[in-house]
């Protein structure tokens, strides 16, 4: 396999997704966990842009929708974090057990 720019982009996308996963597992701050999720969404976007070059531009339409959904998700998620911060006086995900029991 030749390591052209497309395959290298797919490797980079895998790396960014793995870093995002590790970040979700290692951090306690809810906002940083959220930022890691955004990074994972961007890694997937990079994969889709690579595939759009050979499979058709519908993949780029999908990237467009992912960006719109990420914007909506960020707005709602940050509002939830603000509401939880008011309740618990912190954004430590280990202390959130509203839905656990």
């Amino acid at each position: 396999m030749n390591l052209d720019i497309e395959n290298a982009s797919l490797i980079l996308s895998a790396l960014l997704f793995a870093v995002g996963t590790a970040g979700v597992l290692v951090r306690r701050n809810a906002i940083i966990v959220f930022m890691c999720v955004e990074l994972m969404l961007n890694a997937v976007n990079l994969s889709l842009v690579v595939f759009s070059r050979s499979l058709g531009l519908e993949a780029q339409v999908l990237v467009f929708f992912v960006m719109a959904v990420a914007a909506a998700e960020a707005a709602v998620g940050l509002a939830i974090i603000i509401a939880i911060f008011r309740h618990y006086e912190g954004v430590d995900v280990d202390r959130f057990n509203l839905l656990r029991w």
Binding site: I5, S9, A14, T21, L25, L39, N45, V61
Partner: protein, 175 residues
């Protein structure tokens, strides 16, 4: 040659930004490293001929969404160092193993897979001809406003619901 140099530059920038984001203890520096990674990804989008998405990446992601994150960090006063933020050694080991396993699995797929069987050379040439004749924006607009018109309109509804939901959730309850 020039292309691979720029790709290497942006790829190292994106990977370093992502790793520094999860390693930095200060939330504001974490956010700045993430913005760096997003800018680098936008450069890679340009190298992959997705010029419109590169612009949207900078405007929407690095601009709007990251400013929203920054506002929330400042609003909740989280800018100072928090030593409790990082988990202990067990969780770090689990994260390292899970991240490496995930990366190895996907990278193995890329190395073993043969994407030429997924789509022939004519499909790639058709995409290139489309981009050449209509430009990066027009080539994206054509499927967006024909086959995907209903999902596109539904996106506006989603954003409206998200705005209303964010206001309702973040509002102070009346005593």
């Amino acid at each position: 040659m020039m292309e691979s140099f720029f790709f290497l530059f942006f790829a190292v920038m994106a990977a370093a930004g992502a790793i520094m984001m999860i390693a930095s203890r200060n939330p504001v520096s974490s956010l700045m490293y993430l913005v760096l990674a997003f800018f680098a990804l936008s450069g890679i989008f340009v190298l992959l001929d997705a010029h419109f998405l590169a612009a949207v990446q900078v405007i929407v992601y690095a601009g709007a969404i990251m400013v929203l994150f920054l506002f929330v960090i400042m609003l909740l006063n989280l800018g100072h160092r928090e030593d409790i933020d990082m988990r202990g050694h067990v969780a770090r080991l689990v994260a390292l193993v899970a991240g490496s396993a995930l990366f190895a699995a996907v990278a193995a797929l890329v190395f073993r897979g043969d994407r030429t069987t997924l789509a022939g050379e004519e499909s790639r040439l058709a995409v290139e001809a489309m981009v050449r004749s209509r430009g990066a924006v027009g080539a994206l607009a054509e499927p967006l406003f024909t086959s995907y018109l209903v999902p596109f309109e539904l996106t506006s509804l989603l954003l409206l619901v998200a705005i209303v939901g964010a206001i309702v959730l973040a509002r102070r309850r009346a005593p």
